[in-house]
């Protein structure tokens, strides 16, 4: 795969890891702003028109929601309420009383609310797109013209837009859309969420995307977030070869994860409840590397009893007889606060009383949870491991491991998400039985970029050499002490990065079960020696982009060799 640094390359945040090649088609320009001339109708007549258009728009959006289903339906339901909003209607009517047309009054009222949301920034600012879409639809209805929407030509195309409204994304004709590029919108935008859900190849937040013109050929690589504009023949052939090899790649049979030289790399599942156990086993999970327990606590205003928890853990352990199952103690706080744990509002919750810190402040909850896990483990044959979230110090490690042992658990470890824990991994692993690296938080803390904030999403890249160096510290400490080092963040689900992580010393990889097949296939292509070499290449890079490019370049010849065998 070739990446260039010429001006004909756009960069954004890739969603998923697909690849698309094809001609650009831009979203049609929005409707022109309705003229601000006096209405020929009486104010009351205009009010009837405006109310009718808003009601019809709401009904139309709801209908689209019903068709789309899934999370799109919720988003569209919210949009329908925007069209029906009583405050907005009052605002429209006040404007109509001054003699404006319904088109203009509706337009102005929406603009006012949109500006308000935009001025609030962050999440609210991203909702402004939803509002623009509702406005356009209502004005189009008043003017008797079709609402601007996704083009539907008779050939496949790469859709380019500023940002897509939920209604558009939900109804994309997947047979025709080869890929999606937006200039705006972060990884939390609806476009990104829905693209992920529908497996649409997408690069979002690619600045400069609006300079693309209809008919230009682009290569959209979601795995790197790179859009190559007007590619050379060589680039195009390389991309087509990649597509073809993915389509024809022999599916690596479901089985234990291993490198090409036979080095075992157990592939485990990240699970957030006991509902998906069967699916994880079917996809070849060799155990569970991260069992999130928040679901047991989120819906209640007090912690569940030992017996209630024990029943869930027993179901979990019974599904993996003789296999490793790592249960993470309750990880509340920051983006998932619980009323009975997090008492005080915090200015910076990601840096606050979260994870093990919150549990220590409410030790009875932690004791109950560990007791329930120990009881379930005693009644089943799974290899039950427990780990503490958000551990920063050796002292916290000793506290957690000591408590787990006291309550009858044999294997207790810590999550490494805080740079301090990675830097002192040799001392932490002297006390802990294992470490599991949470790459999402480790990246957030290393680069000081809130992972929920779209405006700093470009920092949230686990390929960053600073993050990889910290992973390497933990890997080295684990090797020296003979302790396992797992990865349980999103990074393990990125096949190429998974190989790099193994090169940095990861001994197992845990991911959402859907990613297991791709990672298993990628691992089988490279030897330990190559993985170590890729790790060194990535570590010596200056940026995430450089690290990725260097490793892909080094990995490509090897892939070809493999194919010609």
């Amino acid at each position: 795969m070739t990446t260039t640094t010429t001006p004909m390359t756009l960069r954004g945040v890739g969603i998923g890891r697909g690849l698309g090649i094809g001609p650009v088609l831009r979203m049609p320009d929005p409707l022109p702003e309705p003229a601000d001339g006096p209405s020929a109708l009486a104010a009351d007549a205009e009010k009837v028109r405006a109310a009718g258009a808003l009601a019809a728009t709401a009904a139309d959006i709801r209908l689209r929601g019903e068709k789309a289903g899934g999370s799109a339906k919720d988003v569209l339901e919210a949009q329908a309420f925007m069209a029906e909003d009583p405050t907005l209607k009052d605002d429209v009517n006040v404007r109509l009383d001054t003699g404006k047309t319904a088109e203009r009054a509706v337009f102005e009222a929406f603009v006012q609310f949109r500006d308000l949301l935009t001025s609030m920034g962050g999440y609210m600012g991203e909702r402004a797109t939803d509002l623009d879409d509702v406005s356009q639809r209502a004005v189009a209805h008043l003017q008797g013209v079709p609402a601007p929407g996704v083009p539907d030509p008779d050939h496949p195309f790469v859709l380019v837009a500023r940002d897509l409204a939920p209604a558009d994304t939900a109804l994309l004709n997947l047979d025709k859309v080869l890929a999606l590029i937006t200039s705006d919108g972060g990884p939390t935008s609806h476009t990104a969420i829905l693209a992920r859900e529908k497996s649409i190849v997408a690069v979002v937040g690619a600045s400069g995307a609006l300079s693309l013109e209809d008919g230009e050929t682009v290569i959209v690589d979601a795995s790197t977030g790179v859009v190559t504009v007007n590619p050379t023949d060589a680039e195009r052939s390389a991309a087509e070869a990649t597509l073809a090899s993915r389509a024809s790649a022999p599916v690596v049979p479901v089985g234990p994860g291993a490198l090409a030289d036979g080095t075992a790399v157990p592939l485990l599942a990240n699970l957030g409840s006991v509902d998906k156990l069967a699916a994880a086993i079917e996809l070849g999970a060799e155990g569970v590397g991260l069992f999130r327990t928040e679901f047991l606590f989120l819906d209640s205003d007090k912690a569940p009893s030992v017996a209630e928890q024990q029943a869930h853990y027993t179901t979990l352990f019974e599904a993996f007889p003789g296999k490793k199952v790592v249960v993470r103690a309750l990880d509340a706080g920051a983006d998932k606060p619980l009323s009975f744990l997090n008492d005080e509002p915090e200015e910076n919750p990601a840096l606050g009383l979260r994870g093990l810190r919150a549990l220590r402040a409410h030790e009875s909850i932690l004791r109950d949870q560990l007791t329930a896990i120990a009881n379930a483990a005693a009644a089943t044959t799974a290899e039950a491991w427990v780990m503490a979230p958000m551990v920063s110090t050796v002292e916290e490690t000793r506290y957690f491991v000591g408590l787990a042992r006291e309550l009858g658990l044999k294997t207790a470890g810590v999550m490494v998400e805080v740079p301090a824990a990675a830097l002192l991994a040799d001392r932490i692993l002297a006390d802990a039985d294992f470490a599991s690296i949470g790459t999402n938080d480790l990246t957030q803390y290393t680069l000081a970029a809130d992972r929920l904030l779209g405006s700093v999403s470009s920092f949230q890249d686990p390929w960053h050499p600073a993050v990889l160096r910290l992973v390497g510290e933990v890997g080295r400490a684990g090797a020296a002490l003979g302790k396992p080092v797992g990865i349980c963040g999103e990074a393990a689900a990125d096949p190429m990065l998974a190989v790099v992580l193994v090169g940095l010393g990861a001994t197992s990889l845990s991911m959402s079960p859907a990613a297991l097949a791709d990672v298993r296939a990628e691992l089988s292509r490279f030897t330990r020696k190559q993985a170590t070499q890729f790790a060194e290449l990535a570590l010596s890079a200056n940026s995430a982009v450089e690290a990725r490019a260097a490793v892909f370049a080094a990995a490509t010849p090897s892939t070809n060799t493999q194919k010609s065998e």
Partner: protein, 87 residues
């Protein structure tokens, strides 16, 4: 007029989806419900009003309603607001 003060339970506050569930419940009640955060009071059936207040997790708001069953309606709305609708 009956009123309730409540602390928001949704992890990301009252943004699009939780706001929409809340507005849906208010609309379904058929009663005029007022929502107050700080010194701002508005119609709780207005999703744009609710969103524009920027109500975050842990914020305190006050709901008031008038009419038949006002107490029952308010209790139901309080239940909704204290649960994590993002979960």
């Amino acid at each position: 007029m009956p009123e309730r003060t409540v602390t928001i339970g949704s992890a990301h506050g009252l943004h699009a989806r939780p706001a929409s569930l809340f507005v849906q419940a208010v609309t379904a009640s058929g009663l005029p419900v007022q929502l107050t955060k700080g010194d701002k009071t508005l119609n709780a059936a207005s999703i744009l009003g609710v969103i524009s207040l920027g109500i975050d997790h842990g914020d305190q708001i006050t709901l008031s309603a008038e009419g038949e069953n006002a107490d029952t309606v308010l209790d139901q709305l309080v239940d909704l607001l204290t649960t994590d609708m993002d979960a």
